[in-house]
């Protein structure tokens, strides 16, 4: 058991801060022990001489003739190559009546190709000591390959085969459907999953694909047909809607040839126009409750939409979030855990995508202190969004963001995926390389301003998944109208299914 849960993942890799501290003088090592033991131990040691700052990797941009962009970063530290093929459509490609289609398609994608059964595919990957995974997201699907330098060519064969020639054999599709339905049913018992689905519905709306229960509903997954998978793949898996990101021990003179041999014949095609509904307007604040009578804890979530990744305030918002709830020592965790002892961890996170962003406070608290915890969170948010952030807090946030970069970008897996994320977000590919300068320029006033603008609790709907018997006084907090959604949350398809529009497929 670890002492602590990591704070809410600060969804993007962190951010960074100024390398603007003066280079410190190295301490005279030999001189120190002559002082009395306690005295020298009581003083925090000075830093060693500054080392050259971390340089975040920036990819070389190339492309194949069929408009497939390629991002390359050489790294010969370990004999591994990571290739991530990113499709730029994910859950946002789900038709209104088929929530869960992108997830279903992603789950079925690596279950066999036209020339390889699912077992042959798995065996061949294992024989190469390679790993391949398919990850669906709100705005994309990623196929991630980690292989050894020596087996790059045959491993790329498998990646390309999975991406371009999935078979979607009926038997495989039905197996994936059964497993998917099982997973959806399991989610209905999980306090964390129930809270996430409620948050998504509040932020994106019941008509938006992002506002649907993650993975769809039992009804929609039962209704998805093989040809829906084929059509989704055929529509969105196009080189003009994709990106190849490569990091590792490849040979720069041959990598493009290797990629072109496998992806060069992939034909571009225009994508259908996106018909996503607008995000819902902000309504009066509500408190959603889902009753879990037997739980010993309540899962809490307070969340709001913020700004897209390219908004000029995004960096300041990330820094503000770290100070408020992105570190172990941040206010939320300090108050709820270290002062009160009501939780194993309370934190906040910001995430961005191309269209919007999300700020969320999240954690589980002992059921008996559900209402007390909400009161404390509300007080911290009120104080913080009122502009109460100290220079020391801001400095810790900026330094933390900056110093987390080397670890966050340590592996080829992380680097290849980070390039994809930057590209999806519409951020420049040298975002992390330039971060120290931009973070250094961030002022106290900037952070106070964005905190006021985006983090006011008056904007944050509240979700409480826990025993109702421990919610006496919840309405008295006057956070907003308390709405019981137990029935809908635990059986979303049956109660609140979007109207079926089969003709639209």
């Amino acid at each position: 058991m670890s002492r602590r849960i990591p704070g809410l993942t600060v969804l993007l890799l962190a951010l960074g801060c100024a390398a603007s501290r003066p280079a410190p003088t190295p301490p005279p090592l030999a001189a120190v022990p002559s002082a009395p033991v306690d005295a020298w131990r009581s003083t925090q040691p000075a830093p060693l001489a500054a080392v050259p700052p971390f340089r975040a990797p920036v990819p070389v941009q190339r492309g194949l003739p069929n408009r497939l962009p390629v991002l390359l970063r050489e790294n010969h530290a370990v004999p591994v190559v990571v290739v991530e093929l990113a499709i730029r459509t994910g859950v946002d490609g789900d038709p209104p009546d088929l929530p869960g289609l992108a997830d279903f398609m992603a789950a079925a994608l690596d279950e066999g190709t036209r020339t390889r059964s699912n077992q042959q595919l798995a065996e061949q990957l294992e024989d190469l000591a390679a790993s391949l995974s398919v990850s669906p997201g709100l705005d994309g699907i990623r196929i991630h390959l980690n292989c050894l330098t020596e087996t790059l060519a045959p491993a790329l064969d498998l990646l390309a085969d999975v991406a371009l020639n999935p078979a979607f054999r009926p038997a495989d599709v039905e197996r994936v459907r059964g497993i998917t339905l099982t997973g959806l049913k399991q989610r209905r018992g999980s306090p964390g999953a129930l809270a996430s689905d409620e948050v998504a519905r509040l932020l994106y709306g019941a008509r938006h694909p992002w506002g649907q229960p993650a993975g769809g509903t039992l009804e929609s997954v039962r209704a998805i047909r093989r040809q829906d998978l084929v059509r989704f793949h055929d529509t969105y898996f196009r080189p003009n809607n994709a990106l190849l990101s490569v990091s590792g021990d490849f040979e720069p003179s041959t990598i493009l040839t290797l990629l072109a041999e496998r992806f060069g014949a992939w034909r571009p095609r225009a994508l259908p126009p996106s018909r996503l509904p607008p995000f819902p307007k902000e309504g009066p604040r509500t408190v959603i409750t889902v009753d879990m009578p037997d739980s010993t804890q309540s899962q809490l979530a307070l969340a709001t939409r913020t700004i897209p990744a390219t908004h000029p305030d995004a960096l300041a918002l990330s820094a503000a979030n770290v100070a408020l709830g992105g570190m172990f020592t941040s206010r939320l965790n300090h108050q709820l855990r270290e002062v009160r002892g009501w939780t194993y961890g309370m934190g906040s996170g910001v995430g961005f995508n191309k269209r919007t962003g999300v700020f969320q406070v999240r954690g589980s608290v002992v059921a008996a202190h559900t209402v007390d915890s909400l009161k404390d969170i509300e007080a911290e948010l009120t104080r913080f969004s009122g502009g109460d952030i100290t220079p020391a807090e801001l400095s810790e946030a900026k330094e933390g963001i900056l110093q987390s970069l080397p670890s966050a970008l340590e592996t080829n897996d992380a680097v290849a995926s980070t390039f994809v994320t930057l590209s999806n977000l519409g951020r420049p590919l040298d975002w992390y390389a330039t971060l120290p300068t931009r973070l250094g320029a961030l002022s106290q006033e900037d952070v106070v301003r964005v905190s006021r603008a985006y983090l006011s609790p008056a904007k944050l709907p509240v979700v409480v998944v826990g025993p109702r018997k421990d919610q006496d006084g919840l309405a008295g907090l006057q956070l907003g109208a308390v709405v019981d959604r137990t029935a809908e949350a635990k059986d979303p398809g049956k109660v609140a299914a979007p109207p079926a529009v089969p003709a639209a497929r």
Partner: protein
């Protein structure tokens, strides 16, 4: 030759020809021991300007007394509550930039406890300052209020990680059945809330004096440092700490299952039944451990494994199926876990698992299965040292279990050398059909949606 952070000869590892059976992988390091008994491992890695500091204490749940479940882990929390000269280590780490990304933490398991932080290379002295101060001067800074808070925090950790998580309580039942009182693994590492809440300041003081000393620890530094400077710093911060008594390794006989033990566990979070079959297992680096590990991969370690194929793909009665060989210092366990597919039952899954095992006990693995399992296992070992934090952990782990921090290449050779006959033998001896714990986790009927009390 391009410099490589991890020295590897992958061609040997990969070559299918039996002549190339062994692979070479190593973490270059140097070692010294302070006069107080602290063993120190230094491994340079200059890929990025950061350094990771990792301390292993040779103490875990195994060292708890009976009725003190959860105590070693609760104690770990107290190590972050401040020491004599460093009243708030977390605050110090945040100030030097180690507050984001979860790079400063600790963990407790059945047999050991570790503390680690990754800091900017220039802040190596701060990391050593914090680790040495809590190794030498913890007790002077502790008080009853801090203990009371962490008792509550850990109780919430138990609620979050076990009580409110599907199949969490089954894990505790496994420990309680395999390690009945007064065994120190009873209630697993997390412990019972009642016993966590009963922990006193005297318990904390006694545990610290007995186990938290240089002679019972190892220290690994990996990253961007000058080894000469690092050695001076380590000597300065740790050199004058009293070494402590010669560490005692706990010696508790491993209780043995005497028959087929069947238990049904109601679970109010899970919505899908789960089967767990559990056998008495081995200790780390026991002679049959490597064969047992490969057995677990062949049975349930990947999509090509026997259990996955049979239960998930052919019979389609399970949504997942896996196996694991948990080696623990006081004797581990071998576990098969299968979660049903909706509409299917534990009884169906058990029949199929038993059929797969009966078949395997007759014939053992195919050559291809064994080779695949070796590649998956060795690949995992090598990838685990891609990060500096992984390297530091491995140096300490090998030092703890084998005495040799540089055991990685020998460890890989140990797996490469396993034969099909040894895996077959492991299946026969490790998984006897008549001495097994069978857990049937059954979702309790969910309360009527929306019903008001």
């Amino acid at each position: 030759m391009r410099p490589r952070a991890v020295v590897l000869s992958w061609l040997l590892f990969l070559a299918a020809a039996p002549a190339f059976a062994a692979s070479e992988a190593s973490i270059p390091f140097q070692e010294f021991t302070l006069p107080n008994g602290l063993r120190v491992f230094l491994s340079e890695d200059h890929r990025a300007p950061q350094v990771t500091v990792n301390v292993w204490y040779h103490v875990g749940a195994a060292n708890q007394g009976s009725g003190k479940s959860g105590f070693a882990h609760l104690f770990e929390h107290m190590m972050f509550a401040g020491s004599l000269h460093v009243p708030d280590p977390d605050k110090v780490l945040s100030a030097v930039g180690a507050g984001v990304g979860g790079s400063a933490n600790g963990s407790t398991n059945f047999d050991r406890t570790d503390y680690y932080e990754t800091v900017p290379a220039s802040q190596l002295p701060v990391a050593l300052w914090i680790e040495s101060d809590r190794m030498g001067f913890l007790l002077q800074a502790l008080d009853a209020q801090k203990l009371a808070t962490q008792r509550d925090v850990v109780s919430n950790e138990r609620r979050q990680s076990y009580e409110n998580r599907p199949y969490g309580l089954a894990q505790l039942e496994l420990c309680d059945t395999l390690y009945p009182k007064p065994h120190p693994y009873f209630h697993c590492v997390i412990g019972s809330i009642e016993e966590i809440q009963a922990a006193s300041m005297d318990d904390i003081r006694g545990f610290f004096r007995e186990y938290y000393a240089p002679r019972n620890a190892t220290l690994a530094l990996v990253g961007d440092f000058d080894p000469k400077v690092a050695r001076e710093l380590v000597t300065r911060y740790f050199g004058d700490l009293p070494g402590g008594a010669e560490p005692k390794r706990p010696d508790v006989p491993q209780p043995r299952l005497q028959g087929v033990v069947e238990k049904t566990i109601p679970d109010h979070i899970a919505r899908i039944p789960q089967l767990q079959m559990v056998w008495n297992g081995v200790k780390p680096f026991a002679p049959d451990e490597a064969a047992g590990d490969l057995l677990s991969v062949i049975l349930g370690g990947s999509k090509t494994s026997r259990l996955y194929r049979r239960l998930v793909e052919e019979k389609q009665i399970a949504s997942s199926a896996g196996a694991g060989n948990a080696s623990l210092g006081l004797g581990g366990y071998f576990q098969i876990v299968a979660t049903a597919r909706e509409g299917h039952t534990v009884a169906e899954m058990r029949r199929e698992v038993e059929a797969v095992l009966a078949d395997f006990r007759r014939t053992g693995p195919t050559a291809a299965e064994l080779e695949r399992a070796k590649r998956i296992t060795v690949g995992g070992m090598v990838r685990s040292v891609e990060r500096i934090s992984g390297k530091a952990d491995q140096l300490n782990a090998y030092a703890f279990w084998t005495g040799d921090p540089g055991f990685l290449s020998k460890d890989i050779a140990r797996y490469r050398a396993v034969t099909a006959a040894q895996v077959l033998e492991a299946a026969r001896t490790l998984l006897p059909p008549d001495r097994v714990l069978v857990l049937d986790v059954e979702p309790t009927a969910p309360s009527a949606p929306g019903a008001r009390p």
